[in-house]
């Protein structure tokens, strides 16, 4: 998985590419925890993410819970396989999808 961050004031966009799974989710969580201080608007771009497992969902939930306290989080451009997993697990109702 590759991860790209774009910071604009208190807004942050994180773009993910590849697979968000058991082995890569810890990397995302570490990056997110290190980057979210002072952020009020977070966009997670999943348009190039083609695989997500429950480990990835856990990390997105951690990020969502942090952002519930300090601002907003939007998940953008989820691909069809990823969206299917969101629907299946009820994450479509937990996350704000665009």
């Amino acid at each position: 998985m590759t991860l790209e961050k774009k910071l604009n004031g208190s807004s942050l966009e994180i773009a993910l590419e590849g697979r968000l799974d058991t082995t890569t989710a810890p990397q995302l969580e570490q990056e997110a925890r290190a980057s979210l201080t002072g952020i009020t608007a977070l966009v997670v771009d999943l348009s190039k993410l083609d695989y997500i497992s429950s480990a990835g969902l856990r990390t997105l939930l951690v990020m969502q819970k942090i952002m519930n306290i300090q601002g907003t989080m939007v998940v953008r451009g989820a691909t069809e396989p990823v969206r299917e997993i969101f629907d299946l697990t009820g994450f479509s109702d937990i996350l704000t999808l665009e």
């Binding site: 799974d21 058991t22 082995t23 083609d50 695989y51 497992s53 429950s54 480990a55 969902l57 856990r58 939930l61 396989p81 997993i85 299946l88 697990t89 009820g90 994450f91 937990i94």
Partner: protein, 201 residues
């Protein structure tokens, strides 16, 4: 075709290799790229759902493919604590342990009729002493343990139970959506989980 057994490990690189292999075998079995990815996800979720159990023992994984089905087998040592056993049983689609195949199964059926009454009684027989001792009885002659069906019902929570939080049972939800059946079969000293994806749909 049956693949070699893969010894499971938590090392990220080896885990990724295992998942890559599952995806590759699925493609060899003429599955679409998308279905092969689903098999990868299935494997990851099965391993995640049984984490803490297979790591503690020599967990192995292998696949069997045929024109009819793709079968993923996960074998691990039989856990000693009840919570871990419940966790495994809860993975099955039926919510119950499956009977071991072969001679022992047939023997168990015969003995259940002899010892426990009519063949139509709601009795589940297991030759392995897998589940709770409560409500079960053992035959000293055979070493078999017999469990009444209600014992299994207590062990396996109803699949419709609401999760305690957003993540509770998330692996099982994904697994159930991918495969047609999940069997959890206890043997003497180990447990085997078989996830079956039918290919002729």
């Amino acid at each position: 075709m049956k693949t070699d057994e893969i010894k499971l490990t938590q090392e990220p690189e080896k885990l990724t290799n295992t998942l890559d292999k599952v995806e590759l075998i699925a493609l060899y079995a003429d599955m679409t790229r998308r279905d092969a990815t689903s098999m990868r996800l299935l494997t990851e979720e099965l391993l995640s759902a049984t984490s803490g159990i297979w790591e503690a023992s020599d967990g192995t994984l292998w696949m069997e493919t045929s024109p009819e089905a793709f079968r993923l087998h996960l074998r691990m040592q039989k856990p000693t604590d009840v919570a871990a056993r419940e966790k495994l049983i809860a993975l099955s689609k039926s919510g119950e342990a499956s009977l071991p195949k072969g001679l022992f199964r047939r023997l168990g059926r015969v003995l259940s009729n002899l010892l426990l009454g009519d063949e139509n009684d709601p009795i589940m027989v297991g030759v392995a002493d897998y589940l709770l001792p409560e409500g079960s009885m053992s035959s000293m002659a055979t070493g078999c343990t017999y469990h009444y069906l209600p014992c299994y019902a207590r062990v396996a929570p109803a699949p419709t139970q609401e999760p305690a939080d957003e993540l509770a049972g998330i692996e099982k939800r994904i697994i159930d959506a991918i495969v047609d059946d999940v069997l959890v079969t206890p043997y003497g000293d180990h447990v085997e989980i078989t996830a079956v994806k039918n290919l002729n749909k």
